[in-house]
Amino acid sequence: MRSAWRDGERVRTVEIEPLAAGRYRVVVDGVPLELAVETLADGRLRLEGADGVTVAEVTAAGERRFVRLGRLDFVLRREDAARRGGAASQAGGLEAPMPGLVTRVLVVAGDAVRKGQPLVAIEAMKMEHLVRAPRAGRVKSVVARLGEMVDGGVQVVELDGEA
């Protein structure tokens, strides 16, 4: 079973191959691990590998996975979901960086914009954030509407040539 995960700016792949009796061969970005996996009574995973035992706690929240390893936490995102907003993000900031209220819409479809130009303002918890053009181009469509509540990661403006 193969899956892809967004880890910050990276996309990482995991391949799982079941071996005998609760053992798995797990290949992460080409690095192979052999793990004995036990599901504990409280839903945590006990992973025993060559380097010893680690107990992991994985919580799903939408497409995000919060992973606790020992006393550290990591946040991953299932890549099929990440692709929706993520592609825009890689193209450069056309998605809402946080959930919030659209307080200003500064462009309309057809506008030519220069790199860094503010397109939309989003406010949450008394902080205002400007979504800026990642490059020069032309506004294909403005998805966000003034006064609308948007989720973090949702596309707010579409620049020409974007999917």
Binding site: E57, A60, R71, M125
Partner: protein, 500 residues
């Protein structure tokens, strides 16, 4: 004493106030916006009443809705907590006009001390030094004032305490935009466009003194808090005592705070904030006329319940204890847990805290506003909880804080936990060597690099194995119609196959 108190607030502070009310045998009434239906603070109170739509202006900032709730609940007093209407003189006056007790200073004191100009005048009358600054609503006049103070200056709303919306302007060409944006936020947050400019002191510390006044000129202090550790001009870690004050300077600072309280004939709990310059001189900043977010560190070192003291002063019109009854012991430090992404500009986060686990250890206190499954709405300040550790000395307190943060788990919404953990283990924090800009200037780059390093292979393996071994209802195999799930209704918690 009051029989029923309405708590005009939400989250961790509303819950904390309800706790003291319960101990005192006073009925507590919570209020909630539509976004907070069933929230922890409503469960902690004896009763809870709806006050309106999620937007603060339609609920927690709506004086008439709060007064109507107080009337329905039969409350004889209102505790405003911090934020929202806590420093709104018109609200304090409306509460008193409705025949209820406002648990705080007089409306006139809220007005006078909330206005930087009259607060500075008070300080000058009390013989307490102030930071050079200016105030006004006219952009042109403010521009001129900034130039005469000399850059860098700090721009902020004149009303409302804390560092919210505070900006540092280093270059003249940025001044116009900063004034414009500060003005907009001042109007939206406090309904008043007046701005305040202040000369920025370099490498200063923020030290404040907790005061209590009887409203007739009697006042005491509960020692100081050092709130120098800030990000974006907002406090994030606070402690008491300050690691840099010797007894002589502590005395000078607390004397100044008590002089201010006496001069103002201050009533109830307040905080006199000062900047402490590297040369040891201190300058009065402002008086916050309310309970402070960081009040638990004072409670930990004095053993006193500040909310109880507020209620006693409000009900009895006298201070229930004398200065010599206030005894300091050991050290306490607090970390504020925010739903914000510290590695990405501290952007506020929201969603649902699917799984939450608070630390439980000797000398550790947690003031939390959420439990597992609770919503973190987008509409409010993203504070989730405060973790407070104390000890015989500063080192013991910090060690306990670090361990408690390790034991804290919040899954489902991104928090500043990694940032707090790194801060609690940093050498500079251990040595007390920092100023209010240190986090941004020296700490943040290293932390961000660490936070953006690839997750260990095992984390990815665990995520993928969980997908295979555990069942996430609604988490997998969504149909197209569910492609944009509402983050507040997604269940998203794992179950073990066969146990569900």
């Amino acid at each position: 004493m009051f029989r029923t108190v309405l708590i005009a607030n939400r989250g961790e502070i509303a819950r904390r106030i309800a706790g003291t009310l319960r101990v005192m045998g006073i009925r507590s009434v919570a209020v909630f916006s539509e976004a907070d239906r069933g929230a922890l603070h409503t469960r902690a109170a004896d009763d809870a009443l709806p006050i309106g739509a999620p937007e603060p202006g339609a609920s927690y900032l709506r004086a008439e809705a709060l007064l109507e709730a107080a009337r329905r609940a039969g409350a004889d007093a209102i505790h405003p907590g911090y934020g929202f209407l806590a420093e709104n003189a018109a609200f304090a006056a409306a509460v008193e006009a409705a025949g209820l007790t406002f648990i705080g200073p007089t409306p006139e004191q809220v007005r006078t001390l909330g206005d930087k100009r009259s607060a500075r005048a008070l300080a000058e009358r009390a013989g307490v030094p102030v930071v050079p600054g200016a105030e006004g609503a006219d952009p042109a006049a403010l521009q001129r004032a900034a130039k005469s103070l000399g850059l860098p200056v700090i721009v902020k709303a004149a009303f409302g305490g804390g560092g919210k919306g505070m900006q540092v302007v280093e270059r003249e060409e940025d001044l116009g935009a900063a004034l414009d944006s500060a003005r907009r936020l001042a109007v939206s947050a406090f309904g008043d466009a007046t701005l305040y400019l202040e000369k920025r002191l370099e490498r200063a510390r923020h030290v404040e003194v907790q005061i209590f006044g009887d409203g007739r000129g009697g006042a005491i202090h509960l020692f100081e808090r050092d709130c120098t550790l800030q990000r974006r001009h907002q406090k994030v870690v606070e402690e008491s005592p300050s690691p840099v004050l010797d007894e002589r300077r502590r005395r000078a600072l607390t004397d100044a705070a008590v002089a201010l309280a006496r001069e103002a004939r201050y009533r109830g709990a307040g905080t006199a904030e000062f900047l402490l310059a590297p040369d040891g001189r201190f300058y009065f900043l402002e008086i916050n006329t309310r309970l402070q977010v960081e009040h638990p560190v004072t409670e930990a070192v004095t053993g006193l319940d500040l909310v109880r003291l507020q209620l006693e002063v409000a009900a009895g019109g006298a201070l229930p204890l004398r200065q010599e009854d206030v005894v300091r012991r050991g050290h306490a430090i607090e970390a504020r847990l925010y739903a914000e992404d510290a590695a990405h500009g501290f952007l506020p986060q929201a969603g649902r805290a699917e799984r939450v686990r608070w630390p439980s250890a000797p000398f550790v206190r947690v003031d939390a506003g959420i439990e597992s499954g609770d919503a973190v709405p987008v509409h409010y300040d993203p504070i989730l909880a405060k973790v407070i550790a104390s000890g015989a000395d500063r080192t013991a307190a910090i060690e306990r804080l670090a361990a408690a943060l390790d034991d804290t788990l919040v899954h489902g919404v991104i928090t500043n936990l990694p940032f707090l953990r790194a801060l609690a283990r940093s050498r500079e924090v251990a040595e007390g060597r920092f100023d209010t800009e240190w986090v941004e200037r020296e700490f943040l780059a290293g932390f961000s690099a660490l936070a953006m390093a690839p997750a260990p292979e095992l984390a990815l393996a665990a995520a993928a194995l969980a997908e295979r071994l555990l069942v996430a209802p609604g988490g997998t195999g969504r149909t197209g119609a569910e492609a944009v799930p509402d983050p507040f209704t997604t269940l998203g918690r794992w179950r073990l196959p066969g146990l569900g």
